[in-house]
Symmetry: C2
Subunit: 267 residues, 2 copies
């Protein structure tokens, strides 16, 4: 126990000193909820255009990773986020990310030694939980991990079509595919079944949160797992995720692809 703690501290020190990676000390198992500095940006005026401008600006701040950890979307942006998610905006943005990733993947020269890999997150990256979030205000409600786990246990999340296209291309190009998800190891079976049913096959590894990872932030957990991949000689060419915590930290991929997600934030 003492040794592992020392090891953990030591690894953290390495991260901090080499990559200036900072881990949030407020660690939670699947931490959508963080008590942090929350600032309510005031509306510009009550006009519809101003609400849209305000919410567009908020969404930009989310997608460019400028915000402090947040618990829910701004109340006044509920309709804006719902429109974005259910009309064409989300789909168009998803397709563009997939197209850019395919373009990059096609340009990578694989060495043929089985060490060239692509990492995918699962939720809101390969699988869409939109029906769950539609029932919970598209991010207006504070995340309820029990309710979400019940949804996950149904195993009925649909594939994000553009991500399935990217996934299939990446496999065809000859990359090994590693799935790296914040879902618990306890949900391995339902996750495998859900992925298979949605058309995802042939991955090389599915890495879930084990008991030892429960207190880590997603950034820390995923960075550690990527470090292990590199130690094993893998070259992480691409990484696709809807959260910056899927992509940043240390042992980052050569190219990271941020899928849109204005509904929730995982540190």
């Amino acid at each position: 126990m003492y040794t592992s703690l020392r090891l953990l501290l030591f690894s953290s020190l390495i991260y901090v000193s080499i990559c200036q990676e900072t881990f949030d000390p407020h660690t939670l198992p699947r931490p959508l909820i963080l008590e942090t500095h929350v600032k309510e940006t005031p509306l510009l005026s009550s006009a519809d255009d101003d609400v849209t401008l305000h919410c567009t600006s908020w969404r930009f701040a989310v997608e460019s990773n400028n915000l402090s950890p947040w618990r829910t979307i701004p109340q006044e942006c509920g309709d804006y986020v719902k429109d974005y998610m259910t009309k064409r905006g989300y789909e168009v943005d998803l397709e563009r990310v997939a197209d850019e990733a395919i373009l990059y993947a096609s340009s990578v020269e694989l060495r043929g030694d089985g060490k060239d890999i692509w990492v995918f997150d699962v939720d809101e990256t390969l699988l869409s939980n939109l029906p769950y979030y539609a029932d919970h205000g598209y991010g207006l409600e504070v995340f309820d991990s029990e309710a979400f786990d019940k949804w996950v246990d149904n195993g009925i999340a649909q594939a994000i079509r553009s991500s399935l296209k990217l996934y299939e291309e990446v496999v065809k190009f000859g990359f090994k595919v590693f799935l790296l998800t914040g879902r618990s190891e306890m949900r391995r079976m339902v996750t495998v079944e859900n992925l298979n049913r949605s058309g995802f096959h042939g991955w090389d590894d599915l890495i879930l949160r084990g008991a030892e990872d429960q207190k880590k932030t997603a950034t820390q957990f995923k960075s550690e797992k990527r470090h292990k991949m590199i130690e094993q000689g893998y070259r992480i060419h691409g990484n696709s995720g809807d959260q910056w915590s899927d992509l940043l930290g240390s042992a980052m991929a050569a190219r990271s692809f941020k899928l849109p997600n204005p509904m929730y934030y995982i540190p």
Copy 2:
């Protein structure tokens, strides 16, 4: 020569192995122009709404760092980018980034040993070159470094107001301020004068590209300079820049703040 090459290769290897940082081999002095994989995403239809959706999606892809290096903005998005830059969108987005950065800066506990720092880029971060880009299609024209340098030599770029506010707050909080810019060392004097005239005073260091940095990408140049700061015992709490190459790479800040810029791309 051979030794420096070996040293360069060695440093690159360190980056690659530790932080999976990859440097583009196509290095140019101030490389806005890269010959890379350019994909024209097709328009959805000819309707105005579809052009807006298409261009909004493109801008998201820019700001979330999903695009391969690009030379010019998409032709069909000329009006969209001009509107964004000249109406309220750009200003609202800039203000939000500054507000988020101030919020974070106010939460940092400084140690009082003079080693807590904030890094700022200059162009499109502290100073706005909008009049120059207005004369060059807001990014529709391929970057012309000679014409741009002539503009810089006028020394008349205005402060970005929200960045000046952030700058002043950061200085007031007690951070040391390091300016890290891709401008050439040859333009130190005009840069200092322009910054002073625009209200920026009291920085601790202004780092420009020296002769030895001319062939490096901005990511490489800026990562190396941040590494030096850390070697000297500085703690980089915040980093503000309009380009991902200001922020990513290695020796990253604890928090990075990406200012909007849909006009040009620097790798």
